[in-house]
């Protein structure tokens, strides 16, 4: 058990450090790379919790596909080292205010509920098997079929939107 705890602590440090690096690096490409590292550490958290499917999906979808697209756009626009412009002056105080509120709320909840038994039960070890994948697929496609289909239609519409937008640009040329 203690080895799990050590891994958890080290990973938490890495996750926090990469998140901070993402926020504070000047170069957009470095920010994106820190975010990739952050996604990978989150995937390892899932592995620690005994959810290999979610972990692999996290790496494939977020670290693999989405962040490659981010990098692609950053590089294509040549936006990796834009000078820091302060185009939205109200943004900084607003962000600080909101994050302070969020932090206070989180600490309040933590202190308030510390006594009560709020801890999430650890996942069943037997879930760490092929059957859990089968069960997940069963519940996804039986109980949650409508949300699933709605999500796919949403993605399809987004894709069509992108196609239509680029089409118009071509005709205007």
């Amino acid at each position: 058990m203690s080895s799990d705890l050590i891994v958890f602590l080290v990973l938490s440090l890495v996750a926090i450090a990469t998140a901070l690096g993402m926020l504070f690096s000047q170069n957009a490409v470095y920010s994106a790379l820190f975010l990739v590292l952050n996604f990978v550490t989150v995937a390892i958290f899932y592995l620690l919790l005994g959810a290999p499917f979610i972990a692999m999906a996290q790496i494939t979808v977020y670290a693999g596909a989405i962040m490659v697209l981010f990098l692609f756009v950053i590089m294509l626009l040549g936006a990796e080292s834009l000078a820091p412009t302060n185009s939205l002056p109200w943004q900084k105080p607003m962000a600080i205010l909101l994050s302070v509120i969020l932090g206070v709320e989180a600490v309040y909840l933590l202190l308030n509920r510390a006594g009560s038994n709020l801890a999430v039960a650890a996942p069943d070890a037997s879930l760490n098997s092929m059957d859990s994948l089968r069960e997940m697929a069963m519940s996804l496609f039986n109980n949650f079929l409508l949300p699933f289909e709605v999500t796919s239609i949403l993605l399809l519409v987004a894709m069509m939107g992108a196609i239509v937008l680029t089409r118009q640009e071509k005709e205007a040329k």
Binding site: T60, G64, V68, L69, L71, F72
Partner: protein
């Protein structure tokens, strides 16, 4: 608690796997050069050692002693990281591929794979999707427009062909009824999946050619247009790492293809003598690798806009159709309890392949891709 012998076994197996891949890389370069030479009616490298067998060692020595230049205006950290990020995925992806069943050594059962995880197909996909970073970052950090174009091309290409690749993985998962590669291999005991789903295997093969940037999809390093593409600024051992990654990826995807569709380590007598398993897998990999070399020797490079059209307009719909046909066939055979429905899968898949070829002729002809 896992005992320490388990750790020793893991470390030894991982080490041996890396060594196999490294030696495989060295001799694959020789194999490719000799085979290419034969196809082009040349002799090929045959001076170093008998039949040129020492050529890879001579190449390695040459590359180690080459001067390593680091251009002045590169993004230094990423420039050094990129070759490593390219090589590591090509090594770790092999961890889940079963090389055989298991054998006894000193009274201890030793399994012929490094890791047997139940989502190994997903593991393959996630590592494959991470592999693009090395190339993209190499292109960007070189601070050179040709390298940058190569990196951008490769990222666009890999994202596009990953969809078809994932769907052809799905056909093998549906046929094998598992995400575990060992289960998928065992499900092919009576019949290889390439017989049931030849089109799925073909799509997998084409998509992986694009994923590892091999001819005819080697646009990221098209010499005529981009000098050497993403590795234009790399020299010495750093270049060798990119070279190594490309050939190791070739070996690994042939291993995956053999595992998913060609019965993996299965072959006559493998139940009795489990050590035959790696031999069968090795033989299948050599045959599949020859296919890749053959393609490189005979096909011209495809133009970039056509490569994109081919990936999105032909390969993706075809792989969707093939996944749908496979799932329907399996479902019908299960529900009606009639194994004959299984044979609808190859029939319908091949029909859809011919429809796809008709669309290639209609949409990808020179005329429809003329200058606007």
């Amino acid at each position: 608690m896992i005992d320490w012998t388990m750790w020793v076994e893991w470390i030894v197996k991982g080490f041996v796997l890396c060594l196999i891949l490294l030696a495989g890389f060295a001799y694959l370069t020789l194999y490719e050069r000799r085979a290419l030479a034969r196809i082009q009616v040349r002799v090929g490298p045959n001076r170093a050692g008998p039949q040129g067998l020492l050529q890879p060692i001579a190449d390695a020595v040459k590359l180690i002693f080459k001067e390593e230049l680091t251009p002045g205006k590169v993004y230094r950290i990423v420039f050094f990281l990129a070759p490593i990020l390219t090589v590591v995925p090509s090594l770790v992806i092999a961890a889940v591929i079963p090389l055989g069943t298991s054998f006894n050594l000193f009274g201890r059962e030793i399994t012929l794979y490094v890791a047997d995880i139940n989502v190994s197909v997903l593991y393959l996909m996630s590592i494959a999707s991470i592999a693009v970073y090395g190339i993209v970052l190499a292109g960007w950090s070189s601070n050179n427009k040709y390298a940058m174009l190569g990196g951008i091309r490769s990222s666009a290409q890999m994202i596009s062909y990953e969809l078809a690749l994932g769907l052809s993985f799905a056909t093998a998962i549906i046929l094998g009824d598992s995400m575990n590669l060992t289960d998928i291999v065992n499900a092919q005991d009576t019949m290889w999946f390439v017989v049931i789903q030849p089109v799925g295997a073909l799509i997998f093969w084409i998509a992986t050619l694009a994923e590892v940037n091999r001819a005819p999809f080697d646009m990221p390093e098209a010499e005529q247009e981009l000098t050497a593409g993403y590795h234009a600024e790399y020299s010495g051992m750093k270049f060798a790492l990119f070279f190594m990654a490309e050939y190791q990826k070739m070996i690994v995807i042939c291993m995956i293809l053999a595992t998913l569709f060609f019965g993996g380590y299965l072959g006559p007598g493998v139940d009795k003598y489990p050590l035959l398993g790696p031999v069968y897998l090795f033989a299948k990999v050599i045959v599949l690798l020859f296919g890749m070399i053959w393609v490189r020797a005979t096909w011209p490079r495809i133009r970039y806009d056509r490569l994109m059209s081919f990936g999105w307009k032909i390969l993706l719909p075809l792989s969707l159709a093939v996944a749908f046909i496979t799932a329907t066939g399996i479902l019908l055979a299960d529900m009606l309890n009639n194994q004959l429905y299984i044979w609808g899968i190859p029939a319908l898949s091949i029909i859809s392949l011919f429809i796809a070829i008709a669309f290639i002729y209609r949409d990808l002809r020179r005329k429809s891709h003329g200058r606007v």
